[in-house]
């Protein structure tokens, strides 16, 4: 079970934003996408989520073409967290998280929901925020609320084997190192539970510590895709960021 992306190309006004990208997101693994600003990382997430339509190339979710999956079914398979837009009306945090709950069409709304709600709220460390208005929260707190919403969307009952994927576009932006570590640990835990994760971060150290596979993008081209040891080389990173990069193994083995 995996998401297979082959020769993915995306053009806007004849300008190629992504160029022949081929990747694979496996269940139970974290794939981290690195790259400088404007390299096409967020576009990639939008394409795999189905928000944009690829100019060329294929995206297969567990051998089913993304184009053939209905908008509703897509929501059950993958959940996405990106840079969010401001919310105009004064929703409570509880209501925002509830928006990720897809189980519809029956009256058993409260049974599973209460349990899962408490679980994701606990995971995102926002227990004391749930009854507050979303708009009074700080940027970091809002981020964690959105994370909780993303997690509740990806929830599956323990007896279910439905493949689930999470795509996270800079989930640690605006977070202090304490929460940064917490978020990454949740992501790791989700992957260990069998969820496939696509992660965009800017922090190369975070990527190296937590991910199973790394892809490096630059100007819409894939510079490398593979295990962190093979990809996080001085050659590839220097090329990606146009900076001389020196790779030093952390004597503390990347512990904070």
């Amino acid at each position: 079970m995996s998401i297979n992306i082959s020769s993915l190309t995306y053009e806007v006004d004849n300008k190629k934003i992504l160029n022949e990208i081929s990747l694979k997101i496996e269940l139970g693994e974290i794939l981290c996408v690195l790259g400088p600003n404007g390299s096409g990382k967020s576009t990639l997430v939008n394409l795999i989520s189905g928000n944009f339509e690829a100019t060329k190339g294929d995206i297969f979710f567990d051998k089913v073409d993304l184009k053939k999956i209905s908008i509703e079914d897509r929501a059950f398979t993958r959940s996405v967290m990106t840079q969010s837009q401001p919310i105009v009306f004064d929703f409570t945090v509880r209501e925002i998280i509830e928006m990720g709950w897809l189980k519809r069409g029956n009256f058993n709304f409260s049974k599973d929901f209460k349990y899962v709600f408490n679980q994701v709220v606990d995971e995102a460390s926002i227990e004391n925020l749930t009854e507050k208005k979303f708009n009074v929260l700080s940027g970091g707190e809002q981020k964690r609320v959105h994370l909780a919403r993303t997690l509740i969307q990806a929830w599956r009952p323990s007896n279910s084997n439905d493949p689930k994927y999470i795509f996270l576009d800079e989930p640690t932006a605006n977070l202090d190192i304490n929460y940064e570590k917490k978020v990454m640990e949740i992501v790791r835990k989700k992957a260990d539970e069998g969820i496939g994760v696509l992660l965009i971060v800017h922090d190369i150290n975070l990527a190296c510590k937590y991910s199973d596979k790394i892809a490096v993008l630059k100007d819409g081209f894939l510079l490398g895709f593979g295990s962190p040891e093979n990809i996080l080389t001085e050659e590839i990173l220097s090329n990606a960021y146009d900076l001389p990069v020196k790779v030093i193994k952390n004597p503390l083995s990347f512990e904070y």
């Binding site: 928000n51 993958r78 990106t82 969010s84 009306f89 209501e95 519809r104 069409g105």
Partner: protein, 345 residues
């Protein structure tokens, strides 16, 4: 049975307090209905109605004039309330209102066109029940379609834009209505004046029955979109990722708003600010989620409009204040208050 029950799924998204408010508003709606039919230039006492048969004149006033009129006021209020609530949700803008963004003006222009140019072609019955509402609905739909294109699909960045476009459309519609006024005959002019101020005075069973049916079914059609409008508040891309077909949702909200605003304007003229004020008050009372907001706005809008109509009938009785003047007189200061208090405009 299941299909019927699943319709009420929206109640699952209401908190206990919201349910309480919602049921309270339903009761309020019926209380205002009863009060409104009993008061006016003829007074009926509620308990008397249950016990004795009113004499023939009273009976005619009650059944042929008063009840249709109050019903129409209630349903037009409900239409404006719920369409304001759903348009605000769709535009993600607390200032959206069928009046402010030009939808009512479009409907009035549609109606004016038929009054002045078309009234000779149709029989009176066909004219009042079909030609007039249809033309008003088309006018409303045309304006919403224009807005849609000018704001590039109602995107978030198009908000101020939208209000400015509303101003332009309102101005254009007034030009159209002005020209029509200029070329109209005396009897047509009377009809036209009626649009610009709004009144429920023309209500009769024959005219309101098709409209009530349309309004009820359109509102019932709108309510299941409530949850989707909630998700839309996260932004279009996010709502899409949560399984919402955005184009379908936009189409549904736009068409249904155009239908009920068009029908309302066709029967009662332009009544300002109700669509703006009602959702705000409902939000202030109980919260912002649309599963609560849409149905509650319908009932509250209905109550508010019936009481406004009641006021318009008894303020300078036996004469009447046009109800549109009354709602604008009360709504405009509220709108100013809203602007001064809003953090996000």
């Amino acid at each position: 049975m299941n299909v019927f029950l699943s319709y009420f799924n929206f109640l699952n998204y209401l908190s206990k307090f919201q349910k309480f408010i919602f049921y309270f508003l339903i009761i309020l709606f019926f209380i205002f209905f009863l009060v409104s039919i009993s008061l006016g230039s003829f007074n009926f006492f509620l308990f008397d109605l249950l016990t004795y048969q009113p004499d023939s004149l009273n009976k005619i006033v009650l059944y042929e004039i008063r009840i249709p009129r109050v019903l129409l006021a209630g349903f037009v209020g409900a239409s404006l309330g719920i369409s304001g609530a759903s348009l605000q949700g769709l535009f993600r803008n607390p200032l959206a209102d069928p009046g402010l963004i030009g939808v009512s003006a479009g409907a009035a222009l549609g109606a004016a066109l038929v009054i002045v140019l078309g009234s000779n072609f149709f029989s009176e019955y066909f004219f009042n029940t079909f030609a007039l509402p249809f033309s008003a609905i088309s006018g409303a739909a045309l304006v919403i379609t224009l807005l849609y294109f000018f704001t590039r699909g109602f995107g978030y960045e198009g908000i101020t834009y939208m209000l400015l476009i509303g101003i332009a459309i309102n101005a254009l519609a007034s030009v159209g209505i002005g020209i029509l006024t200029f070329i109209s005959s005396d009897s047509e002019l009377r009809g036209l004046t009626f649009w610009t101020m709004g009144s429920f005075g023309g209500a009769s069973w024959q005219i309101i029955m098709p409209a009530l049916v349309i309004i009820i079914f359109t509102i019932l059609w709108m309510i299941p979109s409530a949850r989707k409008l909630d998700l839309l508040q996260l932004g279009e891309p996010e709502a899409y990722r949560l399984g919402i077909d955005i184009q379908k949702l936009k189409f549904k909200v736009i068409i249904s708003s155009a239908i009920i605003v068009g029908v309302s304007v066709a029967l009662s003229g332009m009544i300002g600010f109700v669509g703006l004020v009602v959702p705000h008050l409902v939000r202030l009372i109980g919260g912002v989620n649309h599963s609560y907001l849409l149905p509650a706005s319908a009932f509250f809008g209905g109550s508010l409009m019936m009481s406004a109509d009641l006021l318009s009938r008894i303020l300078i009785s036996p004469a009447e204040v046009p109800v549109g003047l009354l709602t604008s007189a009360l709504g405009a200061p509220f709108f100013l208050w809203l602007i001064f208090n809003s953090r996000k405009i």
